[in-house]
């Protein structure tokens, strides 16, 4: 049951003079204050809410219970790998020795931490088949940036400066074109055929002396394994370009196939998807990059190296003069890297293989069951990888029920909706990724919900258009929200 205060903003709960003792700012002594130039000091007090500690605890605890979250519900958000991440990995990363370590502490005081990172570099090399790894990128986007910046640095080091284009298949991860543009390249799109594979002839025609590289993910955003990867790699390499692997879908092939063996020159991995940090929380993440032999000199710094006597140390610009440089003040997000290290240690080689196998098994089980109840797969002839696409184009045309209506209705069945309307090349689609951590019972519940919703769509389509009915808010007007964006609360 909700009370009125449940629906208020924390600012609306504010009463003058009310405070939480634990959070009260300490008054700064005058001699410290005087170190801050007058021009940089606040003229007015910040407009913070004045509330008691219990009000704060209650307010945010209540808000948190309204969330859909992996801790409460099935969360099959395609392309996002919303799997359960073991608490144990987090506990290990929270050990006081790690938590209290100062980033400027001398290397001699950080040997344990550096040893973990060194071993993580080695694990990631082994599992991806790459020759060098840098853990420093702070997120997937920065990993992508680092990857394409290395491609650019490689061509420039060879005075090969007529390469202006990056090729991107339609089934690439959605962020890839933005990365290519950020690195100063023009994007050329390559079409995908009806079975979800790259149109190899179109790719060959697009390759040339202007090709700097190709960005793709395999399995692709179509949820299928790209079968012609050998031919693609050959075409791009023969044109003098390099191959970039987006690690968005690495979960599907973990322990099974290695991007390095497929011919990729550079890859980024999302540790906050595949390796025990929850994804979708808005950060922090980690997007390590792995490279083939020829790109090793360009890896971003710092990297952890091991001396002959077994000591670990940071390798910096002095060791790697051709590096694309630093990407942050220190090196990556330490907590995320440590969680990944423990996760990899606990899984071991055998466990890694099981991640790939079970994430793929769960996806194919769900696909077959959903197909049996009347859902339409986008690529019916293909086996799914770790995720798959359904299209509701038929329902949209005949019943007037859109993918979004079905997605919203799923919330009433206590199931988080899959990714909707992505990838763009399939109309009215769901991209569903169950991951390896769900039980068969959880998958069956999702199928039961979908079966019931499809019956509702036939018998009472209007019901779906009004959904959800059971949530703290009803259907949001996202068009109005986008057109009249208003994020700032103000009581004036």
């Amino acid at each position: 049951m909700s009370t009125q205060t449940d629906n208020q903003l924390i600012f609306e709960l504010s009463r003058p003079g009310r405070r939480a003792a634990a959070q009260a700012p300490r008054a700064l002594p005058e001699e410290r204050l005087s170190a801050i130039p007058q021009a940089l000091r606040r003229k007015q007090r910040p407009a913070l809410p004045e509330v008691s500690e219990l009000q704060v605890v209650r307010h945010y605890t209540n808000l948190s219970t309204r969330n859909f979250a992996i801790d409460k519900q099935f969360y099959p958000l395609g392309s996002c790998t919303m799997k359960y991440n073991p608490r144990g990995a987090n506990r290990a990363a929270m050990l006081p020795g790690f938590l209290g370590r100062h980033p400027l502490a001398p290397e001699s005081h950080s040997q344990g931490y550096l040893a973990c990172l060194f071993e993580l570099q080695e694990f990631l090399k082994e599992v991806t088949g790459m020759q060098g790894v840098s853990l420093t990128p702070m997120a997937g986007a920065q990993g992508e940036f680092a990857g394409v910046a290395m491609i650019r640095a490689y061509h420039e080091a060879r005075n090969d400066d007529a390469r202006t284009e990056i090729l991107i298949p339609e089934a690439a991860h959605g962020t890839n074109p933005a990365t290519a543009v950020m690195c100063g390249y023009k994007v050329r799109e390559v079409p995908v055929n009806k079975e979800g594979d790259v149109d190899l002839e179109a790719l060959k025609a697009a390759c040339g002396p202007q090709t700097a590289g190709l960005m793709m993910t395999n399995p692709s955003t179509c949820g299928v394994f790209e079968r012609q990867i050998d031919g693609i790699a050959k075409a791009v390499h023969e044109a003098g370009g390099l191959l970039y692997y987006d690690g968005a879908n690495l979960n599907a092939i973990l322990g099974k196939v290695r991007p390095g063996d497929m011919g990729f020159d550079v890859i980024h991995m999302n540790l906050h998807k595949t390796f025990a940090t929850p994804h979708g929380g808005g950060g922090p993440g980690a997007g390590p990059v792995g490279v083939s032999e020829r790109l090793k000199p360009f890896l971003p710094t710092p990297i952890v190296g091991r001396e002959e006597d077994g000591r670990y140390r940071w390798l910096d610009q002095h060791d790697l003069p051709q590096s694309i440089g630093h990407l942050s003040a220190f090196m990556g997000n330490a907590g995320v890297l440590l969680r990944a290290y423990f996760y990899a240690r606990v899984l071991g080689r055998e466990g890694m293989i099981r991640v790939g196998e079970y994430s793929t098994l769960a996806a194919n089980y769900l696909l077959k069951r959903l197909e049996a109840i009347g859902c339409t797969p986008a690529y019916p002839a293909r086996r799914a990888s770790h995720e798959f696409i359904l299209t509701f184009a038929k329902e949209s045309k005949t019943l007037g029920v859109s993918a979004m209506d079905i997605a919203k209705r799923l919330l009433d069945y206590n199931q988080h909706a899959p990714t909707t309307y992505f990838p763009l090349l399939v109309p009215e689609c769901f991209l569903i990724e169950p991951t390896e951590t769900e039980t068969k019972e959880a998958l069956d519940e999702f199928v039961a919900a979908m079966e019931s919703i499809l019956a509702e769509a036939r018998d009472n389509p209007e019901l779906l258009k009004g959904a959800p009915y059971s949530q703290p808010v009803r259907r949001l007007d996202d068009v109005k929200a986008a057109r009249e964006l208003d994020l700032v609360w103000s009581n004036v």
């Binding site: 184009a393 979004m404 909707t420 309307y421 992505f422 763009l424 109309p427 996202d478 068009v479 986008a482 057109r483």
Partner: protein, 130 residues
Amino acid sequence: MSDIRAELRYATSHEWVRLEDDGTAYVGISDHAQDAMGDLVYVELPDVGQQLEVTDEAGVVESVKAASDIYAPVSGEIVAINEALEDTPELVNQDPYGDGWLFQIRLNDKSELEQLLSADDYRTQLDSED
């Protein structure tokens, strides 16, 4: 059934072109394209004076579902853009062949129009996409 106008030429990427007497042409997106995108919330247009080659990126249309690039269906110089779309992108949904036009371009070469689809060809393309 989406509205396809006989007097227009279409690009396979769903832009339409309408040739004017003065050698310029108006460009927009088709009724089918606006319907597939859903309610638009933002339109990015090229700069007046910008030179575009065929299939150059000429802007972006963004809905709550997706963002999609607009490609120049013909080459030429941008002579005007539809400034009303900055505040009212919904014009593209309401009137894709009229008030929802995107930009006006001075054609480098009128024969490029021959490379585009006729209304009938565009209809055939849409039917085959179904």
